[in-house]
């Protein structure tokens, strides 16, 4: 009588649809038209090749520090695909693949990585927030964006991306709790890529899963194979549908792996083994999805070759465009967009600055 088990009325499930070989569990495969399936693959491939090009350019000293996305393409593309352009996209700093699904121009991403504020401009028509670098600080915004959409009678939802490390920050907990209390249409999309720089997931939290944190806040939570684009798609589509219908937030933990560097300033050989990386290489997201599409007759060797060529040209052209914009940067741009209306003291500083650089 005095000590009984409490029924939390909530469990956490794990969802996987495509295995590592690209075999599908037919009962779980979502209905997607052929064009969407092809686009999922194209954006994942574009993201992989773009990442490789960024790394090259960074190593040549043309770009600054950046966070490679390699290995996490399915988690990002699968999560964005069920959403609309008016749904709010709240990235952290590694969401290149998600941004590409939203048709963010490659030249803008290149400009950003070359140290130009111009690269921060979100694409017209998209409800996209800019890259957020301080870990987890963007998570509460997605609660407010969702709350605002609902308050204005819209059925848009907000999706926020963050990592396993971010779940240790107060902002994450405050936001997810707030979202549960107000039942906001928010999707918390956690990419558990097993590492936060050198700190492994097991040292980040003593919880068995990250997904179970949803239980503490009384919202639905699910763990999915984050390298399986179809599983991520299904989990996010369900979450979005629930949120649009007034059912509140969902926490999705995508099990994935950061196959590359934390950032270009990082040396992973200091803290993780090559065997571990290779084991995850075998589970990487592109190969299995390609096999699946091939098995459905939606992709062939020649088509992949054609895609590769197309993507190569697209990236080359974007770099040309970016370089044009990078020539002779006007330094006084740094005075722009601080306020809607520049205060007088700031105008005076700008004038003095221009006089000084103008040889005055």
């Amino acid at each position: 009588m005095p000590r009984t088990e409490i029924d939390l009325q909530q469990t956490i499930s794990f969802l996987s649809i495509l295995d590592e070989e690209g075999n599908a569990d037919e009962e779980l495969v979502p209905y997607l038209d052929d064009d969407t399936l092809r686009r999922l693959f194209r954006v994942m491939l574009l993201s992989r090749r773009f990442d490789e090009r960024l790394l090259q350019l960074q190593r040549q000293g043309r770009l600054g520090t950046f966070a490679p996305v390699k290995g996490q393409e399915a988690a990002q593309v699968g999560a964005m695909a069920p959403l609309r352009r008016t749904d709010w996209f709240v990235p952290s700093f590694r969401e290149t693949a998600a941004a590409l699904w939203r048709d963010t121009p490659l030249s803008g991403l290149l400009l950003y990585n070359a140290g130009f504020n111009e690269g921060g401009l979100p694409p017209e028509g998209n409800n996209d927030l800019p890259i957020a670098i301080p870990v987890a600080t963007q998570v509460p915004h997605a609660v407010g964006l969702g709350y605002s959409a609902r308050a204005q009678g819209k059925d848009d939802v907000a999706i926020v991306f963050f990592g396993d490390g971010a779940t240790s920050e107060g902002d994450f907990h405050e936001a997810i709790n707030f979202s549960g209390v107000f039942s906001t249409p928010t999707i918390f999309l956690c990419q558990n890529n097993q590492w936060a720089i050198s700190v492994p997931r097991e040292k980040q939290t003593h919880s068995r899963t990250l997904a179970q944190k949803a239980i503490a806040y009384g919202i639905p939570g699910i763990q999915v194979d984050g390298n399986d684009v179809l599983a991520v798609y299904v989990a996010t589509a369900e979450a979005a549908e629930r949120a649009r219908a007034g059912g509140g937030p969902t926490f999705i933990e995508c099990i994935t792996y950061r196959l590359s560097l934390h950032t270009t300033a990082d040396d992973p050989t200091r803290y993780r083994s090559e065997e571990e990386v290779q084991a995850w290489e075998r589970k990487e997201p592109l190969i299995r999805f390609r096999r699946y599409l091939e098995s459905r007759g939606l992709l062939s060797e020649q088509e992949v070759e054609r895609l590769e060529q197309e993507i190569k040209e697209e990236i080359a052209q974007a770099w040309e465009e970016a370089q044009m914009q990078m020539e002779n940067p006007d330094p006084s741009v740094m005075f722009e967009h601080i306020y809607a209306e520049s205060p007088d003291y700031l105008k005076a500083q700008r004038d003095a600055f221009q006089k000084e650089i103008g040889g005055g």
């Binding site: 600054g64 130009f116 301080p134 920050e169 936060a196 940067p329 005075f335 700031l346």
Partner: protein
């Protein structure tokens, strides 16, 4: 004696203090196995173990807050914040507790901790990795705010900060972690907190700088010297409590002064120095006081960072205005 970079000199200070005093602990993100993203804590986990060198979860509020608890209970934690731009969740703990524990407990409890963070621009970094927000801390009674300018004084000041009975925020100018080497003695060396240093004596004008700005300021001093002007250069070293007397004495002698910092201009350390000089040296001034600072903008992405940061040329211009 060995010629060390500032990164290595800081590492030496940590290792020697941990060796000397069993109550000194190091904690922060990636400070253990990785040795810190700037390698300042390199090798410490192998030497002192996982209890004294803590790879913490990604949680700045807890890094500082847990550090406060450890300090009150008798340890001397050194908390690393990976970049000063990520210290803001920890500021609540610093302002609300670290700075007030002695005061609130009427002297019963104290917080002998150090919060270290790389700060400042000049390394082509991402957003939030180039700011200089030292005044956030300098503005808070109960905290000390220290900024070294080179390997030798960084080592000596960090040792003093660790031994200090009060919480010290210790900003490391990341642009000069590996920019040059200096002779650093093997045997322990300390420098008093709250004391500025005259780096170069001169009788025509006083230039005051700190952190990574000391080097362009010395460069400017050389250029001025080439034109027959004899500048005095003061390295502040501690932002708060500020050694205004050393600055005032120099300005009373020279009558002209330029303050240099990379932090934004408004409400910056320069403004505070002006105010103190107004109190301590006003009648000796022969020209309006000058300051060369970052502009009142958010530090631009790195393609335009050079335009934001003060350099020797801007300092020379300001000195010439003050000398007119």
């Amino acid at each position: 004696m060995a010629k060390l970079t500032m990164a290595k000199a800081l590492n030496l200070a940590l290792a020697q203090e941990m060796e000397r005093d069993k109550s000194v602990y190091v904690m922060g993100e990636d400070v253990g196995r990785d040795g810190g993203v700037f390698r300042i804590t390199e090798g410490l986990i192998d030497r002192f173990g996982e209890v004294r060198v803590m790879d913490t979860p990604l949680a700045e509020s807890a890094i500082v807050g847990v550090g406060i608890g450890m300090a009150v209970a008798g340890l001397k934690p050194i908390c690393e914040i990976q970049f000063s731009g990520f210290s803001y969740m920890g500021i609540d703990q610093l302002e609300s507790h670290a700075a007030r524990m002695r005061w609130r407990s009427r002297g019963r409890w104290s917080v002998p901790m150090v919060v270290r963070a790389p700060y400042g621009g000049g390394v082509r970094a991402l957003e939030h990795h180039s700011e200089s927000k030292e005044v956030f801390y300098a503005h808070t009674p109960g905290l000390k705010m220290v900024i070294p300018s080179g390997p030798r004084n960084a080592r000596a000041l960090l040792v003093s900060a660790i031994r200090d009975p009060d919480p010290v925020v210790f900003f490391e100018p990341k642009a000069i972690y590996r920019a040059f080497r200096e002779e650093v003695p093997d045997e322990e060396e300390t420098l008093p907190l709250g004391k500025a240093r005259i780096v170069r004596e001169g009788g025509d004008i006083t230039l005051v700088a700190y952190g990574a700005m000391l080097r362009p300021t010395l460069e400017a001093a050389e250029q001025l010297a080439g034109d027959g002007i004899d500048p005095e250069v003061i390295d502040l070293l501690t932002i708060s409590p500020m050694d205004d007397e050393t600055i005032a004495a120099s300005v009373r002698k020279n009558g002209r002064v330029v303050i240099v910092h990379e932090a934004q201009r408004s409400f910056g350390a320069g403004a505070e120095i002006f105010a103190r000089l107004n109190e301590k040296a006003f009648w000796y001034l022969e020209a309006p006081m000058e300051r060369v600072t970052g502009y009142d903008v958010i530090v631009p992405f790195f393609a335009r960072e050079k335009a934001y940061l003060p350099d020797a040329e801007r300092i020379v211009h300001a000195a010439r205005r003050a000398l007119q």
